[in-house]
Assembly symmetry: C2
Homo-oligomer: 364 residues x 2
């Protein structure tokens, strides 16, 4: 397991602005919390050994069969379950999408004895290889084209597409139905990210039924907490939009933005997301105006930043101690350097404070 993750507020008490997690942390979860307050008696009973009730709600909502859905103790639990099952299904090798990407894929595969493909250009058939793609990709915010994904699925034995951040982009991603109807695609989803409840641990897999059946053989019973199951069902049925309160956010630098977040024809979630992505553009532009700072392109609410001098570890310490701001030191992503950090867009005033604090730090 990698040491040094984002959202490490447990090590940094007193943080006021948290840019370190990819989740937009200002969701209004009042309704969910009120619901859970009335359901605390659930702690006194065993949960279902496997959370089939939540699987059925997810399947119904996305128009697929519950034979295509498997709920796990967070998406990370699913990553380890998939690696374990692949190792037992004669997959001897693994590969991951272009670096940097989420580290747990690699760690999970090595835990179960899979070897990384070596010197393979990815163009040959690799039937015994499992390929892991994160779409949108953590930490870059990049997206794969649909044609690319289809090409990978033709060439690899098994392709995992981690769509944990699917609700933080306006670009098209693969649908639940497409994964369910595929031959060899295992799609990961994270209720943690969709509904901004990382403390609860709820993720799920969508895949063709024979793959779900094999995965179930390696599931540990009672792995999903009773309150997490209850919360998952409530969130799916009430379809809470975590970006709802952003709908009035606008890019202050572009008041005539044709993608008007107030456009009444857009669903509320899109309206809030457009506002968040516009604010992401504004934050990136502010950062790119700081000498020695390069904020990379992104198609989501989070992105990488590279410093010409000093280290992300120094910046992280400085921001936490002086400004009560938390960022993600990204130097432990394979393919990155000690000069890389990752941030996710927050409210406009927080973003302006962050840019000011980084400008000040670079002049120290």
């Amino acid at each position: 397991m990698l040491q040094g993750h984002g959202d490490d507020t447990y090590d940094h008490p007193g943080i006021r602005s948290n840019f370190s997690s990819n989740i937009f942390p200002h969701a209004d979860l009042t309704g969910l919390k009120a619901h859970l307050q009335g359901k605390l008696d659930l702690i006194e009973r065993y949960p279902e050994p496997e959370p089939h009730s939540l699987e059925e709600v997810i399947a119904r909502k996305h128009g697929i069969s519950s034979d295509n859905v498997l709920v796990t103790n967070g998406a990370t639990d699913a990553i380890y379950l998939i690696a374990q099952t692949a190792a037992k299904s004669h997959h001897t090798h693994f590969n991951v999408g272009p670096l940097p990407t989420f580290r747990e894929y690699e760690d999970a595969c090595r835990m179960f004895g899979l070897a990384q493909v070596n010197g393979c250009d990815g163009s040959k058939k690799a039937v015994h290889t499992i390929l892991w793609l994160c779409n949108p990709n953590n930490p870059t915010g990049d997206l794969y084209l649909k044609a690319e994904l289809e090409d990978y699925a033709r060439r690899y034995g098994l392709v995992v597409i981690d769509q944990s951040y699917e609700d933080y982009t306006l670009e098209p991603v693969m649908s639940h139905q497409e994964a369910a109807a595929s031959r060899n695609i295992v799609q990961l989803h994270s209720l943690t990210k969709t509904y901004a409840v990382p403390g609860l641990r709820i993720g799920y897999v969508v895949a063709p039924q024979p793959i779900i059946t094999r995965l179930r053989e390696n599931v540990r019973p009672w792995a999903v907490n009773a309150l997490a199951i209850e919360a998952g069902i409530w969130l799916m049925e009430n379809d809470v939009c975590v970006l709802q309160d952003l709908k009035d956010l606008k890019d202050p630098k572009d008041p005539k933005d044709p993608k008007d977040p107030k456009d009444p024809t857009l669903p509320q979630s899109h309206s809030g997301l457009r506002a968040l992505l516009a604010e992401t553009r504004r934050l990136r532009e502010m950062l790119n105006q700081i000498p020695g700072i390069t904020a990379a392109e992104t198609q989501t609410n989070f992105f990488l930043v590279e410093m010409a001098s000093k280290t992300a570890a120094e910046l992280k310490d400085h921001l936490a101690q002086k400004h009560h701001i938390l960022i993600r030191d990204a130097s432990n992503f394979r393919g990155l350097t000690p000069q890389h950090f990752r941030i996710s867009t927050q409210y406009p005033d927080e973003n302006t404070c962050l840019a000011d604090a980084i400008r000040e730090f670079m002049l120290l």
Copy 2:
């Protein structure tokens, strides 16, 4: 994973008396629930990747180092983690204590490719074998003598002692310190059972430090929910006694019982437990008076019952439908028959109702 567990109230709505779980389900958890109501904001933040804060509280309470403690997503998660780690540490075989016993040990070992020892009388050295003992044993309520445990530890490579039900017996069990100071003992504990919170999923392992280190290499990050960590810390610090409200229970058939549950020299937990075990004796005696019913000896609050005719499945259906009573059909424990069921003692009036209902069923 075994199909058909106890506490399956999710499949039997409307149950009024639940004898199917080994946990005494009448604990007063008002304080914990009030605490959690004020902590629901925890769902908005990632938990610690590994719950070290809870590990430290447990270690302090039991006078051992936190290097000897590993908290898991329920004790069942620990069983799979131990099997996985044993398989990677050159343990090729497993064995379990006398049947019947908890099924997950065997399932976990087979999942990770360990083979059951075959035709072994258990008297030879078995350095590559992991032995699983449940103490007190589920489903029989039997206990191992300390000398027996020490003998096993000398002969087997690794000995797992599952003490999930340690707080439901007055007989001595191995201490945390003894396991921490051992060479090859891995001890399992279940906050689920100790504090009657099976919905939350909190268990832990106590073992020598080198074994804990190897186990940590196979831990999945963020496996323990933020509310479970918070509840675990609160329960340990407040030392809730789940049998407290039983302290005035007495065996009505033996008012002069020398082990008086009101004895002021006994700690409250012992006082409540003595009352529960006395009531267990009364329930067993009532059942043994029913023609065709044999209730086995036990040293805890749960025990096996065998029917001379009819099946446990039929009895379970009858009791659930006619009396809103849930029992554990124990026929899927290896070594038992379709005539076996398991019950755990409840309040006296519930126990009397159960005996009456079974007597009626046997006459049908």
